[in-house]
């Protein structure tokens, strides 16, 4: 049966160098539950290493957790990717790490990158420079995501830095994005920046579906922006259908 599902897919954990230390599985899931979110997505910078812990906690509390990653392209554009299957996450991780370079994270400058278990215990640190850019082009990233049956969303397109419109001027027509994400600030801020209209629709001419998520790096930011989907269940495939308004699915 089709019903409404409220979701915030863009949430960082303490693995992201810019993520708060208390962005640990239990705190994140409990906050989502308190807010009445039906599902969340975990999308750390260039890494999936905390997802499996959050998924376990999500199961315990009845909050569906989609595994994802926020990949930084060579052009410094952030692309969100979500997958149903764990093997897809493992595979995308492998490719992203291969293309991330060998630089190490300086945690005094950028922050710690904590790997954590389902009991919120620190079990390690990621040494890679996760905040850095990969050598993958936006087009390559989107193709890669689709080849692994994933969902590809351009992150915070209304933001000047790391948003695709800010970095690349406009969204390339050939790019097969499933949606674009606008940040929580989108409603309150002027949409004209640098003399160009930061509107995904007018900039592309291809009417990409628009979703909005929080991009939370702190507990209190979770759910600041969310999107309601009309689905049978929360899966990448169902969300894809909703973005295309197929089979009665939709974005509300």
């Amino acid at each position: 049966m089709l019903k409404e599902f409220i979701g915030d897919l863009h949430i960082h954990t303490c693995l992201s160098p810019c993520g708060d230390k208390d962005m640990v599985p239990t705190r994140i899931v409990k906050e989502a539950q308190n807010l009445g979110l039906n599902f969340i997505g975990i999308s750390d910078h260039n890494s999936v290493e905390n997802i499996f812990a959050v998924k376990k906690v999500g199961e315990k509390f009845g909050v569906k957790v989609l595994g994802g990653i926020e990949i930084t392209s060579e052009e410094e554009v952030h692309i969100l990717a979500f997958f149903d299957e764990d093997w897809s996450l493992v595979k995308i991780q492998e490719i992203v790490y291969e293309n991330l370079g060998n630089e190490e994270n300086d945690e005094t400058l950028f922050g710690e990158q904590l790997i954590i278990d389902e009991n919120d215990r620190i079990i390690g640190k990621n040494r890679r420079f996760l905040i850095g850019a990969t050598e993958l082009k936006v087009e390559e990233i989107v193709d890669l995501i689709h080849n692994l049956d994933g969902l590809a969303i351009a992150a915070h397109v209304d933001r000047e830095s790391f948003g695709i419109i800010g970095q690349l001027g406009f969204i390339p027509k050939e790019l097969k994005l499933d949606a674009v994400e606008v940040s929580p600030l989108f409603r309150s801020q002027p949409r004209i920046k640098y003399g160009v209209e930061v509107s995904p629709v007018s900039s592309t001419g291809q009417n990409l579906p628009i979703v909005s998520f929080s991009d939370a790096h702190r507990i209190e930011d979770i759910g600041k922006s969310f999107t309601t989907f009309f689905l049978e269940e929360v899966t990448v495939n169902e969300i894809k259908k909703a973005l295309l308004n197929q089979d009665g699915r939709g974005v509300i």
Binding site: Q167, G169, Y194
Partner: protein
């Protein structure tokens, strides 16, 4: 100053639109944020950037820029080269970083908003 003079003075490698080097250069702009280039570059500017995505060609066309200088010996992507040939936009590469490229352009009398 014409593009071909800049190519010679800065020892640039011309990658695309070799026939367009008679274009006149009036001032320059440097930025890697393409939205910023759309907003702030001026007609006939030469543009210094490290971005190699094909959108640089569309931006240069849209703003009628005289040409694009890629810094740090950056190689444009294949589709960027194809688009640039189609649009007759010269892409030129320098082995130098942006700071040096811009400094040398400035020394040649190519300036930004105001007179050098």
């Amino acid at each position: 100053m014409k593009l071909k003079e800049i190519v010679k003075e800065l020892n640039l490698k011309v990658i695309t639109a070799k026939d367009s080097l008679d274009k006149e250069v009036i001032g320059g702009y440097a930025s890697d944020l393409l939205s910023d280039v759309i907003a702030n570059s001026k007609d006939s500017n030469i543009w210094v950037t490290l971005q190699i995505h094909q959108n640089i060609v569309a931006v240069a066309s849209m703003k009628n820029l005289s040409g694009i200088i890629l810094v740090n010996a950056r190689e444009p992507e294949k589709d960027t080269v194809e688009k640039a040939e189609q649009e007759n936009i010269a892409i030129m590469a320098s082995n130098l970083p942006a700071f040096e490229v811009i400094g040398r352009l400035y020394a040649l009398g190519i300036c930004g908003k105001k007179q050098c």
